[in-house]
Amino acid sequence: MDFSKLTLAAALRGLKKKDFTPGEILAHFVSRIEADQKRPDSLNAVIGLHPETARAKMASVRPDSLLAGLPVLVKDNMNVEGLPVTCGSKILEGYVSPYTGGALERLVENGGLIYGRTNMDEFAMGSSNETSSYGPARNPVNRDYIPGGSSGGAAAAVAGDLALAALGSDTGGSIRQPAACCGVVGLKPTYGRVSRYGLVAFGSSLDQIGPIAKTVEDTAILLKAIAGHDKRDSTSSDRAVPDYVQSLQAPASAFLKGKKIGLPKEYFTKDLSQEIQKRLDTVIDFYKKQGAEMIPVSLPTSEYGIGCYYIIATAEASANLARFDGIRYGRRSKSAKDLKEVYFKSRSEGFGLEVKRRILLGTYVLSSGYYDAYYLKAMKVRRVIKNDFDAVLKQVDFILTPMMPDPVFKIGEKSADPIKMYLSDIYTVSLNLAGVPGISVPCGKDSKGMPIGFQLVAGHFEEEKLLQAAHAYDKEVNAHG
């Protein structure tokens, strides 16, 4: 049976009907990964393959559980007890996690089986999966191209049929953007919807774990499997989790009729690639045909999103990554002769260039004499950005935007220019700043055959209606579900 042709939803139906077993699905994807790893142009999507971890839990899976033994890959910045967690970095070489995080505990309780850890930009800092110390991951659509980042491995694995389901993390677009690059679906939940306990922190006020899968329906199932309150995460919400899967049953056109979709003028400027604009136009047409009303809106502080994000995220990261000091765990430089050398050498040897760059930036914006002008200012701007979203989302049900300003690029094309790399996050970062949920849905290809995605945004904790709106397009146009 070629499980690669299935969606997650179809595989679940098959599992429940006992057409096949979890063991068979697992074996299939393990051998696909092993085969891919042998290729010289391997996708390099998986850092660690752990079929034994999945098999060990297989017997205790309840067949009536949500995921019924479905194998899931997780990005390598999520703690699973007994497994390594590298965050794509040398500094955590050899580190084995002493505990399992909240979202993954929920995933397993719901019948998911973790069988591997995916490649990522080091400490989730990147938009192309080129900063990983395990080598770049590749885009399965064309292996010369980046799969996006920082959850590049996860998106590549799903798109490359190495997995039916993966969990990534999104701090400034790291689920949505790679999903768009690889032609799959990626959802960033509302901040606080999914537990961060066990997720190695990058930007504590921005990070969220979210699903990457082939269809919107698949991501709805995965979100249901991981969402919910965790008292070990003081920022996690205790709001009830709706049945995201059930609500997809509602007929799409009835749902979309009369819904208002905002098109922020700041997102559709001449800086947006024409090819991408063309694909977005078809998406707009679709929703119009379904009876939705397109409303021009404005998010006036959009131009400050990148600056604001790169100040806050790096500031938080500079503190979050300070614990990697060679003292208690992880890599300690072998040539360190005293305390100072333990610190300087372990961190110099262990961290890559982009991570160092961001730690320096974050340290700078928090330092005495600069705090007010940078960090404090950015926090105030953040509040205004959030207010912009709140105001617009009072006028409209959803906001529709492109995912990236430019088409997917080749490996190595932008890696020498970090600023250019940062600017490509322009459509994604504001959602993390505002805390609102966003989903990336494939909507065609560019002239080079590389995928293009669009982004749909809703208000805080409105994943249910967001998924319904995205599913309407995905089901109809992408013939998914």
Binding site: P98, Y99, S234, S318, L366, S367
Partner: protein, 486 residues
């Protein structure tokens, strides 16, 4: 001490460990002296992906301490990250409260007994109290020429409150009185063990001098590592002298951190780069703001026990004690309880009971280095002793022999008096006859007395006492002899 041209300005920062069952942000149990790294969770060790969760008991105790120190409890407070690298700091940042502490604007009244300035009371303002987590401990060792250091994270994450005083302390004695009072208040409320030797109570001082009467504060130095009350006093006295010398020679005081050297009894400069710290404080994103309602604060206020000052005032009012004596009793809550138990057993002589406790009992506690809880004499026994004296059953002198016996045996005084036949002889006739005998038997002394040597009266008293083995009622003896001798 300082030349009389200088005003001394001192501010104290006191850290007290809260005696909660678990740590401030993790469910690891707090401990002291346990085997290294046995009271930690991955959070305490700073493992990636772990997150802090606020211990409500710690918040509760911090508010209790704030209320006991007359602070305003802030309805909204926040946590911040204080960033620096040191092996005893597992996350390389401490979670503390920098911008918005839980308590502000408190005060503490203290009594000072200064040989120069006399006895007086004053109020010291408390700027703020905030909650923060403690760091771990380092131990240094190694062998064969290789220095090694070891990190024990048992203590890392233990909840602390930091109490910051206004710079309103003006002498080392005031500083000691303030620290002693803080300790007493925290012990009364029961939020900390306040054990300076174990480190559950620590004190840093900021001190500067200014020309007498000037309103401009001088440069201050910060002194750390004072682990006893005497150490605090010695450190401040030394630093005052040092700063005065520098200033009098026309020099400038460098704002720096000094360590108190307990062996040499002086302050030393740390002279290390650690002083140039920029902590890059920013709000802790993993914790929401702490919100406390007025009702919650009122409920916590209702849980406070009677505080030292209230108890002191009550002792002065109800028992007629001097402020100083009341202060001594109240300084140690168990001692104050002991006193009250004794007075309850024999309410007629509260002042006398106080006297016995603050002199004889205190001497024994000090000599044996024990606390009142370990004292072999029960409060009721002390009360009995005072009662026996007051009712004339034994003399004060005899009592001073009975007391050590009580301490040694733990027996009630009545039992000891009966066993040893120490009761005061009350028999008028017997005493009169003995007095007459002594007077009759010493005509020379009588003559001396009658010719103006009044001091020789004691000779007659001594003679009677000897005959009665010290058990004659002294008052009666005096009366009779006075009459006999004219």
């Amino acid at each position: 001490m300082a030349s009389k041209d200088w005003d001394v300005v001192i501010g104290l920062e006191v850290h007290a460990q809260l005696n909660t069952r678990t740590k401030l942000f993790s469910h690891a149990e707090t401990s002291f002296g346990a085997e290294a790294n046995t009271h930690t969770t991955p959070l305490c060790q700073g493992h990636p992906g772990t997150l802090p969760v606020l211990n409500k008991e710690a918040l509760h105790k911090a508010i209790q301490a704030g209320l006991a120190l007359s602070c305003q409890i802030n309805e909204v407070s926040r946590f911040d990250r204080k960033n620096y690298f040191y092996p005893d700091l597992p996350k390389a940042y401490q979670i503390t409260q920098y911008q918005h502490p839980i308590c502000s604007k408190g005060s503490l009244s203290i009594s000072i007994k200064d040989p120069k300035a006399g006895e007086y009371e004053k109020t010291v303002g408390i700027t703020r109290i905030h909650i923060e987590e403690d760091a771990g401990k380092l131990m240094h060792g190694g062998s064969a020429g290789i220095a090694e250091s070891y990190v024990d994270l048992n203590r890392a994450g233990t909840p602390l409150i930091e109490i910051v005083s206004e710079p309103e302390i003006y002498s080392p004695l005031e500083a000691v009185a303030y620290l002693q009072k803080i300790r007493a208040v925290l012990l009364y409320v029961g939020v900390s063990d306040c054990n300076m030797e174990e480190g559950s109570l620590r004190c840093d001082a900021n001190i500067s001098l200014k020309p007498k009467g000037s309103t401009t504060l001088g440069n201050r130095t910060e002194i750390k590592n004072m682990n006893t009350f005497k150490g605090l006093q010695a450190a401040l006295e030394y630093e005052i002298k040092r700063q005065a010398e520098v200033l009098e020679e026309g020099g400038k005081i460098v704002t720096e951190t000094l360590l108190f050297d307990a062996a040499e009894r002086k302050t030393r400069s740390m002279r290390s780069k650690e002083e140039a710290h920029d902590y890059r404080y920013f709000p802790e994103p993993d914790l929401p703001p702490v919100r406390v309602t007025k009702k919650e604060v009122a409920d916590i206020l209702a849980t406070l026990p009677e505080l030292p000052d209230a108890k002191k005032n009550r002792f002065v009012k109800d028992f007629g004690l001097s402020v100083y004596d009341a202060d001594v009793l109240v300084a140690d809550k168990p001692l104050a309880s002991y006193y009250e138990k004794a007075v309850a057993a024999y309410p007629a002589e509260p002042k006398k009971i106080c006297n016995w406790i603050t002199t004889e009992v205190a001497a024994i506690l000090n000599e044996k280095q024990i606390s009142i809880a370990e004292f072999s004499v029960k409060a009721e026994a002390m009360a009995s002793l005072v009662q026996l004296i007051a009712e004339g059953t034994i003399s004060g002198k005899i009592a001073k022999d009975v007391f050590p016996e009580m301490v040694a045996s733990g027996k009630m005084p009545e039992q000891i008096v009966n066993e040893k036949g120490l009761k005061v002889v009350q028999d008028d006739g017997l005493i009169r006859s003995i007095c007459e005998k002594i007077v009759a038997g010493n005509p020379d002394s009588v003559a001396k007395y009658k010719s103006g040597n009044k001091n020789i009266f004691g000779f007659f008293v001594g003679g009677v006492m000897k005959e009665t083995k010290g058990q004659a009622n002294p008052k009666l003896v005096n009366e009779i002899l006075t009459k006999l001798l004219g």
